[in-house]
Amino acid sequence: MSETHAATAPRDLILAQRRRLSWPRVITSLAVPAQLRRFLSPLALVLLWQAASMAGLISPRTLAAPSTVLASAWELTLSGELPSHLLVSLGRVGAGLAIGLSAGVVLALVAGLSRRGEEVVDAPMQMLRTLPFLALVPLFILWFGIGETPKIALVALGATFPVYLTLFSGIRGVEPKLVEAGQVFGLDRRGLVRHVVLPAALPSALVGLRYALGSAWLSLVIAEQINANAGIGFLINDAREFLRTDIIVVGLLVYALLGLGADALVRLVERRALAWRPSLIKG
């Protein structure tokens, strides 16, 4: 008798525990799907902001109401103003990234794959990277004037270092045992680089790419403060002159969305290119 009692007691206990644990989960999962729940508090903040604006607590000269921002965004889009500025900004980032990423990759390959290359390339790169590259703006203006060149150069510079550093360390960090295996199974130097070294360095290089994109946006924002007459930065500066906080916020939103989009793009590339990683293998 005491035996059956002992056998049932723990089960009752577990059931009771399970019931107690599951209550809060039931409530929250009934209300909103899990993925949407993290957007709840930002949404609440926006609503609060709207309410404060409507109540006159926030003056439009300080910060326009969300509804005004949306209306302005719509207007600017319809008039073609926003798309044309966006295109200019994208062009700068695209050109700067193309130059910066190429430079970073080439330099990292030279330094990573040969001792001589490392001696020549790595020391100056390591010194230059300690320099906050945005501090170079005055020098760039002196060198390149105030046209497109300094803007693109700044974006390029911002993108070069993250890619260089991560690709270089990725190449140097390749597992020697894998290189050895490649050698013993007949890969020559080119084959080793292609089948062993570069794939091994790719995860690290993609982290670098993500940093490079972030850095490129930052460079763009700074660069577009330099006497631009087109681009999102110009749109923002111009709006400042007329105290149009709504347009400023639209510009900021566009910057944010571009950053988010770039990040999503890298994630997509990662998921494709690193499908072999244990963390990405599911089923």
Binding site: L178, E180, A181, Q183, V184, V196, W276, R277, I281
Partner: protein
Amino acid sequence: MTDRTLRVRNLTRRFGSNTVLDSLSLELAPGSFTALLGRSGSGKSTLLRTLAGLDPAPAEAVLDLPRPVAVAFQEPRLLPWKKVWQNVVIGLEGRALRDRAEAALQEVGLGRHLDAWPATLSGGEAQRTALARALVREPQLLLLDEPFAALDALTRIRMHALVLELWRHHQPTTLIVTHDVDEAVLLADRVLVLDGGRIAADVTVELPRPRRHADPVFATLRRQLLSALGVELEEAA
């Protein structure tokens, strides 16, 4: 036909003042299965790496080795970013590589894992892939450096059977490094003990296969080899 006997003479390897191989000589008959025993740090891997061409042989050494050579290490050393079949044929060129990989993988019982990522394989499966990668090259010399040391006991037993089967089928001259005396006696026709940089003991195993631990000859060989390794047993039989 060329003589496929493996011959090594006067092989000396030093790391600083540490003489690991001391004018070592070795001869292995074509198609033979030999095990190499030795204490940890006695130079087994160094010898194997020299035979595999991974370490340079000193000029005064005479090396006459069957080729092609294939190696399996203690770790599978698969490239994680290549599918299993691509790992098997890494470094090979020519047509129908996938078919060749499939045939080799089928031989080691992994015919269904062609397109798997190495990260999804168990330890035993990964090591079998490494065996397939060695076999697909149809090596005349197969070098195995403690290939089963990291596997659990049950998997190891299965791998023993697999290696013997593959050896019988392909007949490469096989040299397996192990620190496990039982494994040596179970698998090999000849067991060498490396000590002081030379072959300190050379024991022929004339047991018919499949071999059983319970065999009295097994026990005698075992004691003999352990004693060559400096381990004296007071066994209560």
